[in-house]
């Protein structure tokens, strides 16, 4: 209750204002891009004076004012949709089917539909602005019919622009899903908003021109083959006639009109550019660093303080901004660091430091657990083990259906630690299709056992969401030669790096489950032979790894924040509050290091980032795992370089001590 409140204040007081400011700026910039569009659409090298006069008259006419108001409405709508649909954790589809599922999700369909409609509106204003033969949908037919009556005829050029707008809008929204346009990434360096915007402007222009080119090419092809359908439909519904004297546009000669193609391309570019601008401005505004107070003298402001905000789960961007602020304050501001290291006035407890370090450590522990369980899954190579308790229901429900999209649903419906990151719309349910998770689990070929294993039993507490399956627990001591006890000893009771108590071993699987299991294997074998099915269900390379590190930015900041604070504590921490947590910080970092190293040794994980093509869709999520690996190493080195030989006095297990020695000797 209280937590929901504290998340709310941020949405109301900060996020909404930022979104509103970004939309306001994009509306303010609209006249400039509109003017550029008008000039480009009227472009004629031979008659510059005429062109100039045309442009001025168009820009000052009443029709253009109306269309401008309409365009402003579209921009506001786009901004609103961006605000509703943005996410700080990319949703990564692990197979073609999952991608299809994302595309066909009702929420996504609504988004596409809205963009299609807005595209038509923009197409209409473009047509009106261009004028000439594009201006009206209907005109008076030149010939009379048999009865000698005049009829209204359909202007196909106008229709073409409308349809093109809709097509570009739709393809933009669909491509947005594939390119993760809704993913908001945080920049490597902090810059002022204006400079950010100025730097990204050429990219937006380039991307929109290129994207418009491909969209127009596809649209022209589509119209060539299917153009008669919308034309006939328009004629029928508006009782318009076709001008038999005019040349139909869905023919080669009709479409090979250079000025027509140029105008189509220009208007598509204009549409995409104005939308990209809105998106860019939104990203820049919403990712601007926000400075949370470390502590407040007033109790009513306590929920807005950094230690409290860090543990928030909704909205996700609040957590991200808080972690970013933590990382910035730990690097740049000694005065705020001293507040972190301070003791509470009555009592003398380091509440601030405890809360911050606890949250960061639980983030790291969570990632470690995720990596371990993923490694388990891959190590067993998808082979089924005996079922554990609670899987009976799921097994029966799954194997009763065939291996189609429907059977994927249970997989998606699981709450994974990562899926909770996704920002849910208002109070509505979490969109199930967008939850990223490991590939084997997305694929219906994977056994339900494994799915169950990797899903936390309690979805409500994902941050304490350590793997609670008996399978993993059984192997845990074997994998991690450091016993959990030694960890406990070294860390205070408040440390979150605790492991869950193992559940009692489950009973043997029932006969029914065994039967279904066999059936399943058969179906699986049968389906594996079909090409299309294999195509749809094979994992996309790297996607699983990307999905695992989808929220890596949070971990990077947590590592940065912790290591800088520990480094600063060497000179600034007067009361020694950091010293009590140092063993658990070191051990959780080393555990994570071990898990990350193992992950990168997996055969499918590439060791270097691939070159991304230039697009506005942010591809930084693809390289997050490399950034995390580098940050982790740097963070450990930062601590070992600062403390040097003093680290020998820190209580650690023998294994970790050995590892740490490597770092002290610069041999990692």
């Amino acid at each position: 209750m209280f937590a929901a409140d504290s998340g709310c204040w941020f949405t109301q007081k900060v996020l909404c204002w930022r979104a509103a400011a970004s939309v306001a700026w994009s509306v303010l910039l609209l006249p400039a891009s509109t003017a550029a569009f008008v000039v480009l659409s009227k472009l004629s090298v031979l008659h510059p004076v005429q062109m100039f006069a045309d442009c001025v008259s168009v820009l000052l006419s009443a029709g253009s004012v109306f269309s401008f108001v309409l365009l402003a409405g579209v921009i506001i709508m786009v901004g609103f949709l961006t605000f509703e649909y943005y996410t700080v954790i990319p949703s990564i589809a692990c197979s073609k089917v999952a991608l299809l599922g994302q595309l066909l999700h009702p929420r996504q369909l609504l988004y596409c539909l809205a963009h299609g409609v807005m595209g038509v509106v923009v197409g209409w204003s473009c047509a009106v602005t261009i004028g000439y033969r594009y201006e009206r949908l209907a005109y008076l037919c030149p010939q009379k019919d048999r009865d000698g009556l005049l009829h209204m005829c359909l202007n196909e050029h106008h229709l073409l622009l409308l349809l093109e707008g809709g097509f570009v809008g739709l393809s933009h929204s669909l491509l947005g899903v594939i390119q993760n346009l809704n993913y908001v990434s945080f920049g490597t360096v902090q810059q002022h908003k204006y400079l950010c915007f100025k730097a990204s402007l050429p990219l937006a222009a380039k991307c929109s021109a290129a994207q418009a080119f491909y969209s127009v090419r596809n649209f022209v092809l589509l119209y060539f083959f299917l153009g008669h359908i919308p034309r006939a439909w328009m004629c029928k519904s508006l009782s318009l006639h076709l001008d038999s004297s005019a040349h139909p546009l869905d023919s080669i000669s009709g479409l090979l009109d250079l000025s027509l193609l140029y105008l189509l391309w220009i208007s598509a570019t204009y549409l995409l550019f104005s939308w990209y601008m809105t998106l860019l401005l939104f990203r820049i505004f919403v990712t601007e660093a926000y400075s949370f107070p470390v502590q407040s003298t007033f109790t009513e402001e306590a929920p807005q303080c950094l230690p409290k905000v860090l543990s928030e789960k909704q909205p996700m961007i609040l957590k991200f901004l808080a972690l970013q602020d933590l990382s910035l304050l730990s690097q740049h501001s000694p005065s705020r660091r001293s507040q972190v290291f301070s003791l509470s006035q009555p009592g003398g407890h380091p509440h601030n430091w405890n809360a911050i370090s606890k949250e960061c450590l639980s983030l790291l522990a969570d990632l470690t657990q995720r990596l371990v369980s993923y490694h388990e899954t891959v190590a067993t190579n998808g082979r089924t083990k005996s079922l554990s308790s609670g899987s009976d229901r799921k097994t029966s429900s799954e194997s009763s259906g065939t291996e189609d999209l429907a059977s994927c649903r249970p997989t998606f419906l699981m709450k994974t630690p990562a899926s909770v990151f996704l920002r849910s719309v208002g109070a509505g349910p979490q969109s199930p299709l967008t939850s990223p998770f490991t590939p084997d689990l997305d694929s219906p070929f994977a056994s339900p056992t494994l799915r169950q294993l990797t899903s936390p039993v309690d979805p409500g507490s994902p941050w304490h969401g350590v793997v609670q399956s008996p399978h993993v627990m059984r192997r845990a001591p074997k994998l991690w030669s450091t016993s959990t006890d030694s960890q406990r000893n070294g860390s205070p009771p408040a440390s979150p790096a605790t492991l869950p108590t193992p559940k009692p071993e489950s009973s043997k699987p029932s006969f029914l489950a065994q039967f279904f299991q066999n059936r399943r294997e058969q179906v699986k074998h049968f389906m594996a032979k079909r090409m299309l099915v294999m195509y749809l269900f094979t994992k996309l390379p790297e996607a699983s790894s990307q999905a695992l590190f989808a929220d890596g930015q949070a971990h990077i900041w947590a590592l940065d924040g912790l290591s800088y604070l520990v480094q600063a504590s060497f000179t600034e921490d007067q009361f020694g509050v950091v010293q009590t947590t140092l063993p658990s910080i070191l051990s959780s970092m080393l555990l994570l290091q071990e898990a990350v190293d193992r992950h990168f040794k997996l055969p499918h994980a590439s060791s270097k980032p691939v070159r991304s093509t230039i697009s506005l869709g942010d591809s930084s999520h693809k390289t997050l795992r490399f950034a995390l690996r580098a940050t982790l190493k740097t963070a450990i080195y930062r601590i070992t370089t600062t403390f040097g030989a003093h680290l020998h006095a820190v209580q650690l297990s023998a294994e970790h001590r050995k590892r740490l020695q490597h770092f002290l000797e610069y041999k990692e």
């Binding site: 705020r336 270097k608 390289t623 950034a627 740097t634 610069y666």
Partner: protein, 515 residues
């Protein structure tokens, strides 16, 4: 203000500087004494490439290709200019209007670029000349050792040689990895990543390479898959790179590009920071506390960036471009030298901004002259020796006690050699430079570049690369006034550098070089 007249006279011919002890520079004439510590790369031992890229290309190009194929290849290799060139050259195969039109466009492009070049003359230089012009190394194109980099935390270093290879020397291992890469050409600078054992960034002609050399690996020839290639269109040649002291970011600069790149190396992504004035960025230096970055341009202008919000302060110079600069260890003071002037300037910055609200850069109003290095004539036994003039590079030791200045000299005049002048620096009560002495090598050999060891226990250790291909280390033994060293029990131990100069230069350092 300190000037060269206060310096002790240079050594007579045949004497080399060995070390500083008890506040004076000691010299010796026996070169055998210094040789165990030094590393020698004779020019003859390097296998140099005799062919350039373009000549081999002509030998292999298949001229029977169709025009279409050739155009596509030209577009890929040379971009628009290459394509236009190809079309203009093959005027027998293309329609006349096309070849004439492309010829016209080409002429127009050339005219425009020459106009641009007249604004910024450095743009007309070739890549190699440009690196030689803006490098911190004296006479770069003729250097056997083109770049040198100490590891910031351990006793290993990397040496880039004229044959485009990089060798890594580590006293704790017997292997000497040699790094070679297809793109590793004309290395202008190198730097190890701080807070990391393995990453070495190399500024090459067309890109920045980041090598990951596993310190535990026994391989003598790491494969080129160990290197990350960071390139950005238009960002070549790279003449300077700088890691942030926290190891998170890498900056790279090119005189051809008005923006400097901030690389997130792990993700291989970059953020261009563009400021048009100046026409490029030639030299970068990140302050040791990480709060400021010096970025000089080919014009008479340099910038000091603040790394919190990446805003910058413009510093126009009167005479020429900023040739070199160095930061005090606490990042509060910047010393720099301007081309065409013979003085060292100092800028003092307030401490790092405390909070976001006060993040704007509050810099000084004007630079102060702290040392005058104008030409001074010393009368020695071998005749008059002129010392002084323009400054090639500056280096400040990590404790902020010794400042080494590499003076350009005059290659034509025999009595005006390039020389390293070393100052003592004092920050309290006021900042001042005091004369220490000249560092000289064997006769006829001039210093080309220098670097201080980042964590030398007994004072400062200056590593000098000479024109003969020799690399020597000159230790300066002193006690730090600010931070008393643990374990050195107050007084400096009695040194006998003339007898055993290698004793105090941490024996473990170069043991493998003895062989």
């Amino acid at each position: 203000m300190c000037s060269l007249t206060l310096f002790p006279p240079p050594l007579p011919d045949g004497q080399t500087t060995l070390c500083e002890s008890n506040n004076e520079l000691l010299s010796g004439n026996n070169t055998q004494n210094a040789s165990p510590m030094s590393l020698h790369f004779p020019r003859e031992s390097l296998k140099l490439h005799s062919r350039t890229e373009s000549s081999s290309k002509a030998a292999f190009l298949d001229h029977s290709e169709t025009l279409w194929m050739r155009s596509a290849a030209a577009w890929r290799d040379g971009g628009l200019t290459g394509l236009l060139n190809e079309i203009t050259d093959s005027n027998s195969e293309v329609p006349k209007w096309l070849s004439v039109g492309s010829g016209c466009i080409l002429a127009l492009l050339r005219w425009m670029s020459s106009f641009h070049g007249s604004l910024f003359p450095h743009l007309t230089l070739s890549s190699e000349d440009m690196i030689a012009e803006f490098s911190q190394v004296l006479n770069w194109s003729d250097c056997v050792v083109r770049a040198f980099a100490w590891h910031p935390h351990t006793d290993k270093f990397a040496v880039a040689l004229l044959d485009e290879s990089i060798k890594i020397y580590n006293p704790k291992s017997t292997t000497t990895p040699t790094l070679k890469h297809r793109l590793q050409r004309n290395v202008a600078a190198m730097q190890w990543k701080p807070l990391c054992a393995s990453a070495l960034a190399v500024a090459c002609q067309n890109c920045v390479l980041v090598w990951h050399v596993d310190p535990c690996s026994l391989s003598a020839r790491p494969s080129s898959s160990c290197a990350q290639v960071l390139s950005h269109p238009g960002h070549a040649p790279v003449t300077s790179i700088a890691w942030s002291p926290s190891g998170a970011l890498l900056l790279s600069a090119s005189p051809m590009d008005t923006s400097m790149m901030v690389w997130d190396v792990a993700a291989e992504s970059c953020v261009p920071l563009q400021r048009v004035g100046g026409g490029g960025v030639t030299f970068l230096s990140w302050s040791p506390d990480g709060s400021h970055v010096l970025a000089s341009t080919p014009s008479a202008l340099f910038r000091v960036w603040e790394t919190r919000m990446w805003t910058c302060e413009r510093w126009p110079c009167l005479k020429g471009r900023c040739q070199s600069g160095c930061w005090s260890p606490d990042g509060s003071r910047l010393l720099f030298a301007v081309e065409g002037e013979t003085v060292i300037y100092a800028l003092t910055f307030a401490g790092a901004p405390a909070d976001i609200s006060t993040s704007s850069l509050k810099g000084p109003q004007a630079a102060a002259v702290v040392a005058d290095l104008s030409e001074t004539t010393f009368h020695t036994e071998d005749g008059d020796l002129i010392v002084g003039g323009e400054i090639q590079s500056l280096a400040w030791d990590p404790r902020g006690e010794r400042l080494a200045v590499l003076l350009k000299g005059d290659p034509q005049a025999t009595n005006r050699p390039a020389i390293i002048a070393v100052f003592k620096t004092r920050t309290s009560p006021i900042f001042e430079l005091l004369p220490c002495g000249f560092v000289q090598g064997e006769p006829g050999v001039e210093p080309r570049m220098m670097q201080f060891h980042p964590n030398f226990q007994h004072g400062a250790l200056l590593t000098v690369c000479w024109s003969s291909g020799r690399i020597t280390h000159v230790p300066f033994y002193f006690l730090t006034s600010a931070v008393p060293l643990v374990g050195l029990s107050g007084s400096p131990s009695l040194l006998h550098p003339l007898e055993r100069p290698a004793d105090f230069a941490s024996q473990s350092l170069f043991t493998e070089l003895l062989s």
